[in-house]
């Protein structure tokens, strides 16, 4: 009887193993993006951008920081503006690094990247990179996290008309 039960258990385990999906990646959402800027009227894909996707409901501090930066108004000849924005940028980078992300990646030489994760209601994608000639090089985009999609991560933040 015991042998029979053991055999039955082994059979059930085998069945369970058989019905288990080979991997969970097929259930993931893939957000395919291109980090791009522009120069001289032409699209300029940007490589090396550090990119992370966060569930919106879990990214309150990041969203608040992005909002603060969005509302910051530069005034020429105000020597305090640059260090102020520097500190905002440092804080953003720190939050992006320390907050649990759904996925992280970097943009390839053609600016492309893919973020893959289990579906969530909505995500905010944040990208930044240190640039020699352009301070505060960052961008963000909020979108649905329920289905595959492709998008442009506009590193010009609206200056290129993407």
């Amino acid at each position: 009887m015991r042998k029979y039960l053991l055999g039955l258990s082994a059979l059930m385990l085998g069945v369970l193993v058989l019905v288990q999906p080979a991997g969970s990646t097929s259930l993931n959402v893939a957000l395919s993006g291109t980090a791009q800027d522009c120069f001289a009227g032409a699209v300029d894909p940007v490589s090396g951008v550090s990119i992370a996707a966060f569930q919106v409901s879990a990214a309150g501090p990041i969203l608040a920081q992005l909002d603060t930066m969005h509302r910051f108004v530069f005034v020429d000849f105000d020597s305090t503006a640059v260090p102020k924005f520097d500190s905002l940028m440092t804080r953003l980078q720190s939050l992006v690094i320390s907050t649990h992300a759904l996925a992280r990646t970097g943009s390839a030489s053609n600016g492309s990247f893919t973020l893959s994760f289990a579906p969530v209601d909505s995500v905010v994608v944040v990208g930044f990179e240190d640039m020699e000639d352009e301070p505060w090089y960052y961008s963000s985009k909020s979108m649905s996290g329920m289905a595959n999609s492709s998008f442009i991560l506009d590193m010009s933040r609206g200056h290129c008309g993407f």
């Binding site: 800027d37 120069f39 699209v43 000849f77």
Partner: protein
């Protein structure tokens, strides 16, 4: 006779269908005052402009794509019939698709008075290819005008009392026009200033991109690139975006339909002026260019907005042009000085130290500071960048792109 027939109908339910059919056998016209009317699918509809149309001089537009229109019914629907019948609106009189649905119980004759106003929404219609007849669009658009609604065969109504066969039906004959919701056609390109020989992509788009949750259809009709020497066809439709190699300043013009309404949009580009000589040399020692304007390399993952000169740390930097000093220190630019002149702004990044103060006026050739490697820099160098007159920083902290110029040479 009217009194007799309803009584007969009420007494003999089995006769209802028959008498209703009898009544319908002689279609009669229900006069309709000027109303906004939604023509049910399958109706006989004549679409044509009339003198009362908002734009009577124009023929009905030819829609390549389903268009989004304001449509629907709100308000009241009142029906009268013989005293012994029950007539009431069905499903709140509106089924959400823009088509009136109502039920008629035990009726031998019905007068229906529609009182409605334009509200609600209906999305793109079922036609995915150009219709062969304009009338095919009638079930997707709001039509407005005067006309008549007749009883007659053709459109099934509530059928439960007719053994689930059509019993009452209406068809419409209506002079009408369509009213697409407004959307604009716009054109954009990544910048207004280009280097000669650049490949520039012009993208036509609509604004808003969605109306009532539906994507606004865009149909490009033509592209025309007008350089200084005359107009040329740039791309064959339906290409979008249209890419051209810009050899001289010019304007791209696109003609297209945004939600069924034709618009023209334009985007002009000018060429970067060739670099001119600096009024005074910022560096007076040998100054090899390590990264050229517009170049990309391992340390410049996007196109370079200035020109980098690799020189020893501590090398004096002089003002190429005169103006007022904006200085500071940032994580990226390091110690920087921007000289804001009447015609152009000159940016000097990564200094070891600056010797000028904020708001100070400097002349071309005045000492600004010394070459360093502060900020995001791996080796001592001068990042020299120039923009035509404008703000040093945009309000959002971005260095402006649209007034970028090739830095002067020395």
């Amino acid at each position: 006779m009217r009194l007799v027939v309803p009584l007969a109908c009420a007494a003999l339910s089995i006769a209802i269908f028959a008498c209703a059919e009898n009544n319908l056998s002689a279609p009669r016209t229900v006069p309709m005052p000027r109303k906004d009317l939604i023509i049910p699918p399958g109706s006989t509809v004549t679409l044509s402009t009339t003198s009362s149309s908002p734009d009577a001089s124009q023929p009905m537009p030819y829609y390549y794509d389903p268009i989004i229109v304001e449509v629907g019914v709100s308000g009241s629907v009142s029906m009268t019939s013989d005293p012994n019948t029950a007539v009431q609106p069905y499903n709140g009189a509106m089924d959400g698709s823009g088509i009136m649905v109502f039920g008629v119980w035990n009726a031998c004759y019905v007068n229906v008075t529609f009182t409605w106003s334009i509200q609600g929404t209906i999305g793109p219609g079922p036609c995915l290819s150009p219709p062969s007849q304009l009338g095919m669009w009638a079930d997707t658009v709001l039509v407005s005008g005067e006309g008549t609604v007749k009883r007659g065969p053709g459109v099934p109504q509530y059928t439960a009392d007719c053994n689930y066969s059509p019993c009452h039906s209406y068809s419409g004959s209506q002079t009408a026009w369509v009213s697409p919701l407004p959307a604009q056609l716009l054109l954009k390109a990544p910048g207004t200033k280009v280097v000669q020989g650049s490949t520039v992509s012009f993208t036509a788009y609509v604004s808003p991109t969605k109306i009532k949750g539906y994507t606004v259809p865009l149909h490009v009709l033509s592209w025309q690139w007008i350089p200084g020497n005359g107009a040329t066809v740039a791309c064959q439709t339906p290409v979008n975006p249209c890419t051209v190699t810009v050899q001289e300043a010019g304007t791209m013009i696109v003609d297209g339909l945004a939600n069924g309404t034709e618009y023209t949009a334009a985007w002009s580009v000018t060429l970067f002026d060739p670099p001119v000589a600096c009024t005074r040399a910022p560096l007076t020692v040998s100054h090899p260019v390590t990264t050229e304007f517009g170049a990309k390399d391992g340390t410049h993952p996007k196109r370079h907005m200035g020109r980098d000169y690799g020189v020893q740390g501590g090398t004096p930097i002089y003002a190429a042009e005169g103006g007022t000093v904006v200085k500071g220190r940032g994580e990226t630019a390091g110690i920087y000085v921007v000289v804001v002149g009447p015609d152009l702004n000159s940016y000097y990044f990564h200094m070891q130290a600056s010797v000028v103060r904020n708001g100070q006026h400097v002349n071309a050739g005045d000492l600004l500071g010394f070459v360093g490697s502060t900020g995001h820099s791996t080796n001592p160098h001068l990042h020299f960048e120039q923009h035509s007159a404008g703000p040093v920083w945009g309000a959002d902290g971005k260095v402006p792109k649209d007034n970028l110029i090739q830095p002067c040479t020395f």
